[in-house]
């Protein structure tokens, strides 16, 4: 039954969104070229590769890591990752005995400037409901199984601060370039629902 509704929802939404866009363009309230530019920005330029570059730099450069810990906004902006949903940043460093997990229980707050647009699960009720109460159960669904004594720090993004998890650097990456290190850093590792990939 839901499948049936979804098919007709796609048709209905396509028509309704097209109607709204038409009206807005007719009224000169939006410029179609601007819409394309916005879509291009988040499809091609702003995405988790930005956050991965921040993490790789922090792994490679202790002074940068220190700056990131003290003033994440300035450190991240220094790499050019500024803007919407990245105005006020805080970096959360995982350690051998503590793990950080980010959620927005009240809507879908997410560090766009470093991670791009959030995935559907991040914005959906199951994750938002459970992350603050049963984070280990949630992590298990992502295939992450932490030692029972690891402290779990959940950050509920209730204001305009945006959180970037800095996962632990995997063993066996000594001497890697920042570019190569960044390939170990998935979006989920920077939300806290994943770990950095081992080589």
């Amino acid at each position: 039954m839901h499948d049936h509704i979804e098919t007709s929802e796609t048709e209905e939404m396509t028509a309704r969104v097209r109607a709204l866009e038409t009206i807005l363009v007719e009224k000169c309230l939006v410029d179609p070229a601007s819409l394309d530019a916005i879509i291009e920005t988040y499809s091609e330029h702003v995405g988790p590769q930005n956050g991965a570059a921040v993490v790789a730099r922090a792994w490679s450069d202790p002074a940068f890591a220190d700056w990131l810990a003290r003033d994440a906004t300035a450190a991240i902006h220094s790499l050019g990752f500024t803007g919407r949903q990245g105005e006020h940043m805080q970096a959360l460093f995982n350690t051998p005995d503590s793990h950080n997990l980010v959620v927005c229980t009240l809507c879908s707050c997410y560090p766009w400037a470093t991670l791009g647009l959030p995935p559907v699960w991040y914005k959906s009720p199951p994750y938002r409901a459970r992350a603050v109460r049963d984070p280990r159960g949630v992590l298990a669904e992502f295939g992450v199984d932490l030692p029972a004594e690891t402290r779990i720090h959940v950050w509920d993004s209730t204001a305009e601060l945006r959180y970037l998890v800095i996962p632990m650097r995997p063993a066996g990456t000594e001497g890697w370039s920042e570019g190569k290190l960044a390939t170990c850093v998935s979006r989920n590792a920077m939300i806290g629902t994943g770990l950095a990939a081992r080589p």
Binding site: E9, M13, T14, R16, V17, R18, L20, E21, I23, L24, E26, K27, C28, L29, V30, D31, S34, L35, A37, I38, I39, T41, Y42, S43, T82, G83, R84, Q85, G86, E87, H88, V103, T105, L106, C107, L117, P119, V120, W121, K123, S124, P125, R128, A129, R130, V132, R133, R136, V138, A148, E149, R151, I152, V154, D156, T158, A159, E160, L161, N188
Partner: protein, 219 residues
Amino acid sequence: MNGPQDLGGQMGFGPVAPEVDEPLFHADWERRVLAITLACAALGHWTIDESRHARESLPPADYLYFSYYRIWFEALTHLLARHGEVSTQELASGHALAPPVRAQRCLSAAEVPGVLSRGGPSARDPLGPALFARGQRVRARNLHAEGHTRLPRYARGRIGHIEAVHGAHVFPDANAHGGGEAPQWLYTVIFDGQALWGPDTDPTLSVRIDAWESYLEPA
């Protein structure tokens, strides 16, 4: 508001079910909704807080059932109607029937990179000294605002500690309803998981929220 958006600790939604190799958009209309929403925000009719409140004010069953871009779309139509830009009749007809209000604010393609890369910081100059200090024990007040608020229900009445003092930020409870920015000191408050969810909770869990000063009282 104690609306459908306040999901922390709710049960019954089933598994998180992350999608493997999830695409950025699941249909072309989602892409357009993202762009139209950001472009309309640039008209300056509403604040980010008012737009969040428009989303959480959808009928609760719809809020829980709709995809997130559909939530954005439905809320956007409410915002555009409220501010006189697009009427229900226009949406039904699919064409403009009345002149626009703020066409002079239309975002040009040339302005897009600047607007997106500037963003909209919420930090403001504090109006007075902070009431709480790092390490202080506080209780989140048991507030049940009818309007927009960012104090989740699971934290209300619970005791935690101030972990960080962030300066003053725009206060959403006022800013969502035309009450101005009314900046307040903002704090990160850390709660023990057991203080929030009872004695059977995993003892390794702690949960932090960012709370405006008027959400808190000494404890």
